[in-house]
Symmetry: D2
Subunit: 295 residues, 4 copies
């Protein structure tokens, strides 16, 4: 059995807290820091760094953007050459590349790690996608080995810095497209009027079909609770990763019609009234005398 | 000056009534029939046929589907060999092909005629797209010449029976895509927050731009009346022709992404809540613990 | 253990032959008929019908459209009141509804059965989705029980006649969208240039991710054989079911953007040159003097 | 008649050269500078600035990105408080906002001006969309008045700095959607096989239809030269503005399905083989045993 590591973990929210728990169960010593003193082991980032033996590994699990940026800037001041920062949040891969340069200037290593698994990860393990140099990745390998699911899958070293978050971003883009596919199929079946047992239909698909998948299993859980989804509104948020996927596609001139349609469907789901469709209605009224629906 | 024809016109609604008026102004004698006796010149279709000199031309201007079908079946009984039926409604091109066969069995000719122009056609003329044999088209040419706009454009003999309604259908598909393009641009400009005078922007585009067009002129009329489109809901109907365009594309394996997106945007505009997006929201809740918006 | 039934099976191609085999392994007696005498147990459909004990069950497993139509017409002549026809092919649900009426006029029952499972079904079982009356479905239940996978999933009685093929059609539409989602993600990762091990990335996703699914497993099989997919062209056929899904969506005014994008991507993949994009290139040349690529 | 201004114009390529010509015809004195000494009036930017009377107006007409950036940095050094820079190129609106700040630090004004008109602008005038303060816009108004088309349209002051290029960007997005709409309609008509005279059909649409537009006129010019577009490949480039439109839509959570489809169709038109569709083909082969097309 592998011997446990000692590591710092910054950010002990729902995700970070669960990951700390899985690491401790796996035999590692985790010193946690969070802005909320009720969650935190250390009184400050400085204290967390002090308490870790060198060479240190600090896993950052805070919201992407400014919070991650601020944490990494502080760590660049606090850590020493030979230490390693792992960004396990949902950072943009372009930010990773900048962070790696900033830390490298101080001799500090950097690995970006995309994490999938949501609320199920504590028990089942988290799928991990990492980017960085082979040396840096090796330093955190025992941590990855504990966080990942049992078996041969669930961990990949995808490439240099940024590659981990890039493939996690694309994973989420694929997820958008798959969810939208099930969603469209559901709506069409409901609209057909000829399918009398919709939940049974989806449930039956869990074996023997081409579309069997974890998302289908989850949809069946939702339909078991609420067979007509009557207690839920058709209102879908989106996180940065869906948007970044489209932007990366545009940057690389890659056509991404299904995934983009999925993102746009979410945008539209959050509108009470569509300014675009006001224009269409206004135009129909102008050329054809078609009545408009008044506000 | 051309000498006028005598013709029958079945269907004297807004569109048919205006066309009859333009034909009379152009020197033709129009005997109209409508189910509404207040609009009708003849007491019955049979009377209309009786009053026309042979060889007769009867222009049918009634709603597509069953009403047109019924009218053509009656005319097949009432007319004589050598007579001609022109379907100027919005029939599906596949129906035209069947109607032509049915009428041909009785020696009666058939021409399908797609008509564009809406409420503006009475004054400006109607764009006409016809399908049929050269002989049949020639029989109604004086009528077409009066209905079309002045000048070299606005009339085409596109091909055999069905070709007229087919190209009118595609015209409408293109129209859907153009309207949606303006609509999307409008929404993005509104959302940007940096454009202080949106109506002035669209108005300026009427000259010198790549997108100058009649639809832009109409949008500017609408914005002149209601600069923020605040009195109109983003609710857009669709007629059969947009749907048929997509079906024809699927039949011919032609990718039609922009026009299809335009039709789907109209479908979505009419939904209070989207069953598909309920599924997306339910799935996000299942795997990520994301809160849902309750109904 | 259930006792075996005796049934007729028309169509012994790859799919029908495997199903006959699975049924025989399950203890049923299958009398097969195929146009190819080398595959056929009976010399004719009439002989097949004669050899079955009444009330008979005949499973039709021939291509959708004319072949199925012809087979059902023949069976309408050959079978007796109380017999049952199961259409296990890929028929359009509207055709099912017509077939049921035709057979009912002779007192013969009808069940439509969508079948998923492809080349894997012989071993793993086939997912079955059936439409018909409860009585008719009950008559063939022992057959369904053998064909379906072990366990609680893989069979559903979705509704009246047509519902089985309708939900199988939608299943295939969802499948199109899921495949396209993986395909788009793959292309973006390849185009990024920062992911050094693409097959390892996809392989790692088989556990712990939101997108784990049978299609992902299959993609990993394909990448194991051909890591850069260099021996396969980006040319994708489509079967009727994807097209019918779009047509049903248009009929029911259901927006289906991701699934439709998936179908259109297949259409485009089969074009050597795009007439539409010739127009775009011609227009850019006209207004901007942009050079065109000459044929 | 208005009295002419004296202004500097940097960048005398096809677009800049034509604009200089239109300005001179309109009574202005234009001192041009270009890297190509054969086109340039001044030997250097410094000389151009020296030769202009204060307060100076310098119109920048060089490629977006680094060339514009470099030119504006140089002008920031050379110009004096009270002078004005107009960026008439295709800059991103976010760059405008940065340029305005940089110049303002030196007391120099900035106006961004989106210009439409292509090769037709010299004779017909250019549509101009400007962003900036009212004072700055007023300083260049005589120049705008000469460049714009005759009549009441073709010029708009859309908002603060960035608004001009923003609305020009959206104009181009709308243009993408309109072009794609015509392109899709063309392909469907060609594929139908029932339209015998395609160019005549498009030509007829120039009057009386809902889709009459300058783009349609241009398409008819192209079809007059090459009725089957057989000398042109379906290969369409894209400029930055289409991509920026999508990115702005994603940033503002605005669904833009038709315009995005238009951009993606261009991306796809430039691919010899689609990596995404290799995946689809590989998956079909895996689950259904469908043959693939080998490379």
């Amino acid at each position: 059995m592998r011997s446990g590591m000692e590591l710092g973990l910054v950010g002990l929210g729902k995700m970070g807290g669960n990951m700390a728990e899985r690491l401790r169960r796996g035999g590692h010593t985790v010193i946690g820091y969070d802005r909320d003193p009720g969650l935190s082991d250390a009184g400050s980032l400085a204290e967390l760094v002090e308490r870790l033996p060198a060479p240190r590994v600090v896993w950052v699990m805070v919201p992407a953007g400014s919070p991650t940026q601020a944490t990494i800037e502080q760590l660049a001041e606090l850590l020493s050459p030979g230490d390693l920062v792992v960004d396990g949040g949902n950072s943009h891969y372009v930010d990773d590349q900048r962070h790696a340069v900033e830390l490298k200037a101080k001799g500090i290593g950097f690995v970006d790690c995309g994490v999938s698994g949501g609320v199920w990860g504590l028990e089942n393990g988290y799928a991990l996608m990492v980017g960085g140099s082979a040396d840096d990745v090796a330093k955190a390998q025992p941590v990855f080995d504990t966080l990942k699911p049992e078996g041969e899958f669930g961990f990949v070293h995808s490439g240099e810095v940024g590659a981990g978050h890039f493939v996690k971003m694309v994973h989420n883009g694929i997820e958008y497209g798959m969810m939208q596919s099930f969603a469209e199929g559901y709506e069409l079946i409901k609209a057909s009027g000829i399918v009398t047992d919709v939940p049974a239909t989806f449930k039956s698909w869990q074996e023997g079909t081409v579309i069997r998948s974890w998302l289908l299993d989850l949809l069946n859980r939702a339909l078991a609770d609420d067979p007509d989804l009557e207690h839920i509104r058709g209102y879908a948020s989106d996180s940065g990763e869906g948007r970044w996927t489209i932007q990366a596609a545009v940057d690389h001139a890659v056509p991404l019609p299904a995934i983009t349609a999925s993102l746009f469907a979410r945008f539209a789901s959050r509108q009470d009234d569509s300014p675009a469709m006001k224009v269409v209605a206004a135009l129909r009224n102008q050329f054809g005398g078609h009545a408009v629906v008044k506000e």
